[in-house]
């Protein structure tokens, strides 16, 4: 797919947390939702999603539950734990700070240097 940005390291976790914060979702759903909310601008290798999901679950940021999907299949649904909510807030804040700083830095004019 053309015009897709490579994912920065560490941002996948943030995107997953954000996607799940919009409502419990299974793996493929999370992938679609990330695409949706990012306007399909980011390229994620699909398989890479799962080790990340497992890691977040292990860190107690995500909770899992087996339920029934929209097409009546058994599926594993991920939702945010309270710790996950907190982490999302922190990460969002720190991401915004980073972006701002990087944008400011990139917007600097030569004579000001």
């Amino acid at each position: 797919m053309p015009n897709q940005a490579e994912l920065l390291p560490g941002t996948l976790d943030l995107l997953i947390l954000k996607a799940v914060s919009l409502g419990p979702q299974h793996g493929y759903g999370i992938l679609l939702r990330i695409g949706q909310i990012s306007g399909n601008a980011l390229s994620i290798e699909q398989g890479a999603l799962y080790p990340a999901l497992y890691r977040l679950e292990r860190q107690d940021l995500l909770d899992t539950e087996w339920g029934t999907s929209e097409n009546n299949r058994r599926a594993k649904f991920y939702s945010l734990t309270p710790a996950g909510v907190k982490r999302l807030k922190e990460e969002t804040r720190s991401w915004n700070r980073t972006v701002m700083a990087v944008a400011t830095a990139l917007g600097a004019r030569p004579q000001e240097a």
């Binding site: 793996g27 290798e45 398989g47 799962y50 292990r58």
Partner: protein, 874 residues
């Protein structure tokens, strides 16, 4: 908690997690494919693209597993597989370790089972520590009577508060008739509450009521599980069956459970029915007493309470109770001497295991040294030291599990041998021996022990591994390994320590076994005071309703001896039977002090001394003329006579074996001593004439010219000719009796010798392996020495000296420990086992010499080293 839970599921629910993961990923693919189909792909193309977009499926799965903590599990699996492979590659090492451990664990399993059934669970009664045996003592006479008088027991019952139940019983040799051959059974008359005192109720039917403990209504019987199986196997409900004991009909009302065995070897129980006169007697002490303490009451408190009561009774009934006290003892302590033998054997087995461990540690150390190159390589490739430790540990556990399983098998087999070696007669009389069998708890414990031993054995290697610093470890190991076998100084120290320990342990076991064997030997060869060869024994307890106490019984014995005495091959026929001696009094002398010897009293027939070959030292034996109307006579044993008549002859003096109403007996002779088989002490004895004091039961002894067992059949027939209704039992040779008596010590000596033999072998193996190791390690050095002109003899001496140094360390340590331990052992076993300097010196020298001999083979190899080859190996 989540990590823990995940780890737990990683370990125990691996399969389910794998399934879940596969399902989750498959669902993902399906969704993706569906979406692609919707956007216009063909289904086949959609599936292909979904797979492509997903990326490397197995790689992602592996990363998921890692996150989940499954990697840990996979490493373990890898380690296991690696361990098994590397052990397979060195079958010599693996089988040596498995064998050593199996021997150690097998010996331990066997002795743990013995400890479990004989020491810990000999008496399967609930709250065993509250069950007490009580008996009367006579402080003034130093007599320890095991029995008590009925009236006193009733007073104890009334006036003490320590006991929940206080119950009396008396054993009874009953004659069982009605079913073919008359048979002698071991019965007991018990008060109604004996079963409840022990906390066991009949498995079928019921026990006795108080009403059944009245004379006249007491014709009921409770039989043992074994008796029911052997005598009434057909009866579906044994209650209601009739049996005849001593000619009287009894109705079976219950069956005791299999584990109930009190008093030991009892086959049936009947009510103890005392008449009012019996109940009032204080002069006849013929009841055994067993009590159950109230919860929370200590034995000391009960003892104090009983002592106070006994003092009161002494004042109230001075004629009968003067000097009478009460002793109280837990039932559980009755097995005491057997327990001590069993525990000592358990310690010996423990030492064997330790020795096996030292041996395995040594083998592992050698293997570790040989594998340094491999370890170095693994470290160089990035394995952390702890990963290597885990690898060593896994390997150790794998092999010790194998050793453990082999050990359990070996132990089970050994237990079978041990059980087969115990004579049936002994089995009946030692509490718990009957129940010698595998126990799941002990099995599990032994297996755990083998794993622990395995883990312990690789500690020296792990220590070696961790001692190297991370940095130099790799290159050092690779460099060193390149030069062939080398070992650090610490490694050599560890090896030396292990082999010295082996030698020390082996010496301890050898000394222990030596002492046991000497003890057993002494028991066999001790001059018993009679000649057991060529003697046949038969026992009869004439039924009381056929033969009243006194003359009728004596007449029966006379007729029986007349029949048997004329049998072909019988040289002399005689009989003896115990009579109760309550006192010991010499006419015209003060009562003896409590510590002075008091004789056991036996009634014998005239040819008894001749048949037993007990010499008459002075005077004459009991003879035909000593009939009921003749003057009462007695023959005393030598030691007894010498104790009381130091400078004079007792002949013609008079003694008394009972109270004031018993007759005076004139000493007519002195005979040789008979010795106690266990301690070897001369037993003080007084022999009276069977016609003047007829015993209730006798043991016939026949001195035969040929093999005594050949006369057994005709002797039985002869007895049956006299009276076919009497049971004849314990028909065996005197030598069989002796073998039975000494079988416990024989078993102990055998087990200990086997342990010591194994120990010796293991120690020699250690000595051999360490010498070979040193030789292999120093081949080049030896080559240089030889090239420089050292003679083969000096090389031989060098290697042997090294072995001598190591083993003398072990011998010195072992000897000092053995000295202390055998002193303890001797005291624990009531000095039956004597400390013998010769045993110590001989075994030390023997072990030292064998260790040198074991080292001789590698030393010879060293002496023959060809310098050219050795140096080229550089």
């Amino acid at each position: 908690m989540k990590p823990l839970r995940l780890l737990a599921s990683a370990l125990f629910r691996r399969a389910r997690m794998e399934r879940d993961m596969a399902e989750e990923l498959a669902l993902h693919m399906e969704y993706r494919a569906d979406d692609l189909v919707r956007s216009g792909c063909s289904p086949a193309e959609a599936r292909r693209r979904a797979r492509l977009e997903f990326g490397a499926m197995e790689g992602y799965k592996e990363r998921c597993r890692e996150v989940r903590g499954l990697a840990w599990f996979d490493e373990l699996r890898g380690n296991l597989r690696y361990a098994i492979r590397s052990l397979r590659a060195s079958p010599g090492y693996a089988s040596a370790v498995v064998l050593s451990l199996a021997i150690g664990i097998g010996a331990n399993l066997c002795s743990l089972i013995s400890v479990n059934s004989i020491v810990l669970h000999a008496f399967p009664y609930p709250h065993l520590n509250r069950i007490m045996m009580l008996w009367e003592t006579n402080t003034r006479q130093g007599v320890e009577s095991r029995q008590a008088a009925a009236a006193n027991i009733f007073d104890w019952k009334e006036d003490t508060h320590s006991f929940e139940v206080l119950s009396a019983y008396r054993s009874w040799d009953a004659l069982l008739t009605g079913g073919g051959e008359p048979e002698r059974v071991q019965a007991a008359r018990v008060s109604a509450d004996l079963f409840s005192a022990l906390g066991i109720s009949p498995a079928r039917g019921r026990g006795f009521t108080e009403r059944e403990c009245q004379p006249g209504s007491d014709a009921v019987v409770v039989v043992s599980h074994a008796f029911r199986k052997s005598h009434m196997p057909a009866a579906r409900e044994p209650a209601g069956e009739k049996i005849a004991l001593d000619g009287r009909g009894y109705t079976v009302i219950g069956v005791m459970p299999e584990e109930f065995d009190f008093p030991l070897a009892t086959e049936m129980w009947v009510p103890l029915a005392l008449s009012p006169e019996d109940k009032a007697r204080r002069d006849v002490a013929n009841l055994a007493v067993l009590g159950r303490l109230k919860a929370g009451v200590s034995a000391e408190r009960a003892r104090a309470e009983l002592a106070a009561l006994a003092a009161t009774l002494e004042k109230r009934y001075p004629r009968t109770n003067a000097g009478r006290g009460v002793e109280i003892w837990p039932l559980g302590s009755i097995n005491d001497i057997t327990d001590r033998f069993v525990l000592i054997l358990a310690f010996a087995a423990g030492f064997v295991l330790l020795l096996a461990c030292a041996n395995i540690g040594n083998l592992q150390l050698a293997r570790f040294t040989a594998r340094q190159k491999e370890m170095g390589l693994r470290a160089a490739l990035g394995a952390s030291r702890f990963r290597l430790v885990r690898q060593l540990l896994t390997e150790s556990l794998v092999i010790s599990a194998a050793g453990g399983v082999a050990g359990l098998w070996l132990g089970t087999w050994e237990l079978g041998l041990l059980k087969a070696a115990i004579p049936a007669e002994i089995l009946r009389w030692v509490g718990g021996l009957k129940h010698l069998q595998m126990d799941p708890g002990v099995l599990a414990f032994s297996f755990g022990l083998s794993l622990a031993a395995g883990a312990g054995c690789c500690l020296p290697s792990i220590y070696q591994l961790l001692r190297r610093r991370q940095g130099d470890g790799v290159s050092e190991a690779l460099k060193e390994a390149g030069r062939g076998y080398t070992s650090s100084r610490a490694g050599n120290r560890a090896r030396t320590a292990l082999v010295s320990t082996e030698v020390a342990l082996a010496l301890i076991l050898l000394v222990g076994a030596g002492l046991m064997v000497r003890t057993f030997d002494r028991m066999l060869t001790v001059n018993d005071g009679f000649d057991p060869r060529g003697l046949l024994t038969l026992e009869v307890t004439p039924s009381p309703n056929a033969y009243r106490e006194g003359t009728p019984k004596a007449q029966y014995y006379t007729r029986a001896l007349a029949e048997m005495g004329t049998l072909a091959g019988v040289e002399a026929a005689a009989a003896s039977g115990g009579i109760g001696a309550t006192k010991w009094e010499i006419e015209g002398r003060e009562a003896p002090a409590p510590a002075e010897p008091r004789p056991g009293a036996w009634a014998i027939t005239p040819k008894y001394f001749q048949a037993m070959r007990i010499p008459i030292v002075e005077g004459r034996p009991i003879a035909e003329q000593d009939g009921p109307d003749a003057p009462r006579v007695v023959v005393l044993s030598e030691t007894l006579a010498h104790h009381y008549w130091r400078n004079s002859s007792p002949l013609g003096q008079r003694i008394r074996l009972g109270g004031a109403d018993s007759p005076w007996l004139t000493v007519t002779g002195i005979c040789g001593d008979v010795r106690d088989w266990f301690f070897g002490d001369a037993e003080p004895m007084a022999y009276v004439s069977y016609r003047q004091e007829p015993p209730a039961a006798v043991r016939f002894v026949l001195r035969t010219v040929r093999d005594p067992m050949q006369s057994a059949g005709s002797a039985r027939l002869a007895l049956r000719r006299v009276d076919a209704n009497q049971a004849i039992y314990n028909v065996k040779t005197m030598e069989q009796h002796v073998a039975e008596q000494t079988s416990g010590v024989r078993t102990a000596a055998t087990v200990m010798s086997i342990d010591a033999g194994i120990a010796l072998l293991l120690a020699l193996m250690g000595s051999y392996s360490v010498a070979s190791f040193f030789v292999a390690q120093r081949t080049q050095e030896i080559g240089v020495r030889v090239a420089l002109g050292a003679s083969p003899r000096s090389i031989l001496r060098m290697v042997l000296l090294q072995t001598a140094r190591i083993s003398s360390l072990g011998l010195a340590a072992g000897l000092s420990v053995a000295l202390v331990l055998s002193a303890i052992m001797s005291r624990t076993l009531y000095n039956v086992v004597a400390m013998e300097p010769l045993t110590f010196v001989g075994l030390t020298a023997m072990l030292g010499a064998s260790a040198l001999l074991a080292a001789y083979v590698p030393a010879r190899r060293a002496a023959r080293v060809d310098p050219v080859i050795a140096l080229r190996g550089e």
